[in-house]
Symmetry: C2
Subunit: 639 residues, 2 copies
Amino acid sequence: MNSKNFSKHSEINTVKIDDTFWNKVFETVRKDVIPYQYLALQDKIDNAEKSYCIENFIKAGKVCEDIRKGIEPATYPVDRWQYDENNSDKNAFHGWVFQDSDVYKWIEAVGYSLQNHPDKELENKANEYIDIICEAQLESGYLDTLYIINDRNKVFSNLKDHHELYCFGHLAEGAISFYNATGNRKLLDTACRFADLICRTFCEDKIKGYPGHEIAEMALVKLYEATGKKEYLRTAKFFIEERGKKPYYFDMERGKETVNDNYHYNQAHIEPKYQTEAVGHAVRGVYLYAAMADIAKAYNDAELFNACKSIWDNIENKKIYITGGIGVTVDGEAFSFDYDLPNDLAYAETCASIGLIFFARRMAECEINSHYADVMERALYNTVLSGMAEDGKSFFYVNPLEVLPIASKVDSRKKHIKPVRQKWFSCACCPPNLARLISSINEYIFTESDSTIYVNQYIGNHMTSDKADIHIKSSYIDNGKVSLSVKVNKPFVLALRIPGWCDQYNISENYKIENGYAFIAIKESCTINAEFVTEIKMIKCSNKVRANIGKVAVTRGPIVYCIEEADNGKNLQLLKLSNKPNFIYKDGNISADGFREQEDSALYSNYTSPNFEECNIKFIPYYQWGNRTENEMSVYIRI
Amino acid sequence: MNSKNFSKHSEINTVKIDDTFWNKVFETVRKDVIPYQYLALQDKIDNAEKSYCIENFIKAGKVCEDIRKGIEPATYPVDRWQYDENNSDKNAFHGWVFQDSDVYKWIEAVGYSLQNHPDKELENKANEYIDIICEAQLESGYLDTLYIINDRNKVFSNLKDHHELYCFGHLAEGAISFYNATGNRKLLDTACRFADLICRTFCEDKIKGYPGHEIAEMALVKLYEATGKKEYLRTAKFFIEERGKKPYYFDMERGKETVNDNYHYNQAHIEPKYQTEAVGHAVRGVYLYAAMADIAKAYNDAELFNACKSIWDNIENKKIYITGGIGVTVDGEAFSFDYDLPNDLAYAETCASIGLIFFARRMAECEINSHYADVMERALYNTVLSGMAEDGKSFFYVNPLEVLPIASKVDSRKKHIKPVRQKWFSCACCPPNLARLISSINEYIFTESDSTIYVNQYIGNHMTSDKADIHIKSSYIDNGKVSLSVKVNKPFVLALRIPGWCDQYNISENYKIENGYAFIAIKESCTINAEFVTEIKMIKCSNKVRANIGKVAVTRGPIVYCIEEADNGKNLQLLKLSNKPNFIYKDGNISADGFREQEDSALYSNYTSPNFEECNIKFIPYYQWGNRTENEMSVYIRI
């Protein structure tokens, strides 16, 4: 850990995206995704699964009003994860226990969007929701609609399974984003009141518990950075230090001992500083690991950082799909064992790849190592982008690497794998998470230390900082070319990441390579041109991964490609690439010469060398799959 | 259907096995499996899952006694599939709803064993259980311990999920076997009393229901053949005719309509005569299909037989593993969609392959086509034999084609796949089913018509019949050679099956090939020598099966081989056969020259042709896998 290299306080002031590739995605999120989700949160999308999110806040607001008036509100059970119209009183809470977080993520996305593109109408819509949310806060500062509506006496009694601290985390992150965009403190003050209650409640001489679903840790660090209130940082550290200690808090809370799994699902099996492997529910995992990196950096804690490094290495080298997907198994939406990366059973939740980007950015802020930004890029351009339809109106929760539609329909082992994007989900964590990540993509381009600005992602933008203003013009995705116009305010070092996928590059200034970055001393204003030669590549997966032996994936720059039935016919397993294919790149797609094995008829027959016909194979970017029709898809192809 | 070719009444009198390969298996079943299961049924095996089977009969016997004495017995719920010590009163029924069937299957196995090898001690043990069983029958003839112990007023109220008719089926089959072996009618009379009640209860003007788990149909046909009582055959036909009619009986019984699946699980979605595809729970399926063939033959019903043919073709050409395993998916222990034959997720229950043998034998009795006996052989020598350890003391319920032990331990998607055989199962249908199938293997060797004796399996035996006495000496498994000494009683035609796996054969007499059999006119006593040239073969699976593309399985005669970690090291996926390997067969095992891909380290890297080292690959018979230690196993290997 060399966090001393990194500034505690950013000298970067603004980063405004202007990029041929990303402008379109941004606009889709701003014009389509965010307005669509505004309606979805109020259950105004036809034929979509119900959210109940705003409905719950309105109900909770009424409860608060009743309490102020001295009216005793009704109570309802709080014994489940999900409450729908069939199993709950109509006046009770509805939806999943974490439903509140959806509007918070939506507000966070709105905040980022407004920072890039002011939009009074959108700001008003957010304020409308903020008013509803703030009405639902109890006098104590407590804010979670499940418990406010259903049973005020039971708050914080089921940290393991319920999501009060998780919802708080999203509240804080949303509030900070909106405050940064608008200067409006209303939601931020609400978040701080809840944070204050949490800091009073969870501490050495009160409840020594910690979140069942992590994120509050990361959010408290952010809230500390936004407000300067040290107590928030200390509580984040407290949560991480208490986690996994024996006797288990979750055992005490439940009044019984866990059997077998010892809370691996919640990463609470041992203390984080002793963890070496990514385990359990993947989104929870990466949210925790990101916070561990935050705390390691804030307290210069080498032991905790070493745990982060171990976990990172485990993910990067043994538990990540080529698409940046993590959390292989539907069973607990969880990490699996090393090298278990099946294509057709993949879970690879969109949120998990988003969380991995959070973890990666924080690691990049702790240590100069281009791998962090490489993984960030892998996740961003493949699994994250795949999570959203081109029109921004449907979403993938699960991101498989091989799809056979009939299997998803008739085979319960694959029912989590949807062959087409869905309009909404009752458990709708992914769509608003996507909106907030894409809207804040400007935060992932640079990291900085006292002397150096690191360029991690080659996304076109105008950046202003105390050191320099940098205008990046990028056609990185198209041809690997980047031009950086630097207007120097004071001498500094510019460090350009050499992408992990790139074997050959040219940079127009003198540079020195270290830890995967080209370091360039900048004394005066200049324009730097860099070209990362973008070849079409065949990538081999480790032969420890059983599913991919004898196969390759085709990539170009950071983009992973796939084959679809719409272009290549049924039975994609019959296709085979030449050993040295003649690849042609055109309009973002790739074609190659290859072979198609002739379909046979007998189920079992004496082996003879298969017959192949020459054919042309068309590849499209993985993130575009499933945008035409329900059909077969595969990332890997035989060679 | 050319059932007119087949005798209604067998002219075959006795078939006594004497075979180098099977004698050992027989002796294991007689000396180890049957005595072991005798103890298991009484819960006298340490560290094995509990059966409760005999315990339930004793409890039910007490209830019957109380009723006779005018004492009103207690009642307990009958609302579940499984009742264990934690969720039931100690005086109530325990175990699964179908637990009675285990002792019936055991008695059936004992009966077959006694026919081949009289054993007074074993006969006494069976009589001891028979006495306990007969004490548990109600005056009405009803006999199912779940309802007798728990609630007499609710009998036959849940045909869909409960197993009264299923248990009856096994009772009848066990009773017939024991009667044939010993002439002792006690259990047969009990079975007939229950059958009479069933015939009175299920008919046009009473309950128009049918079994949720089929087998009663097949058993009633057998009971008709054993007793000559036509009513049994008519009731079997009634069950098949009522099945799947709308409105669904199961809907009426449950008082609500089924949603989505329409009873595919129970093969009750449409009338059997209109069914064309194998669907739903595989064991239920093949038990139904076997009975459909029985009824088609008995009533010369071409429409029903055509349904059987369609379903057979669907299984043989699209839904069977090379090992004879069927019922691919753990989800409902069911058939999956065409060509869905994953190796590492296979269910392939031992009982399903046993049921497939029942179906195959009945088809072979309806139509001259060697495919039926081919499939019977495939299932018998691979999945069925694999179901039992060499010492007869542990068993596989599930028979995968690829095993990675860590996956079975940590991955819930594969938790049904046990890397070692289990001592017993709470749901212990397979071990006693295995015992009864193996003990009755003599019934699967011949079929006959008025003029012809068909030899379907080349298992050494002494057979006596009205046409001829035939002594088969066989080293079929070892070298494909068979010698048949025929002592003619009257001229007839002998039809020798040409095994589907055999490309070259020699038969010492003149013959004519038709429908996969060599027909030889026999006028006088003679000895016929046949050799089915037994090569080691590489078998290709259809390229519509995604899991096996680019791979082969190695076979020799009917035996499918596999590779194990114990012989070939970890990471079996790294092994690759030469295109024309030099196979060596020794002591039942096979070795071949091949290659081992060097293990790589990077998870993702630029594709280069993999490096291989030459190596020797050892194959063992699939049925022997998992007999040494917990380890990796694979049937398919890259080529």
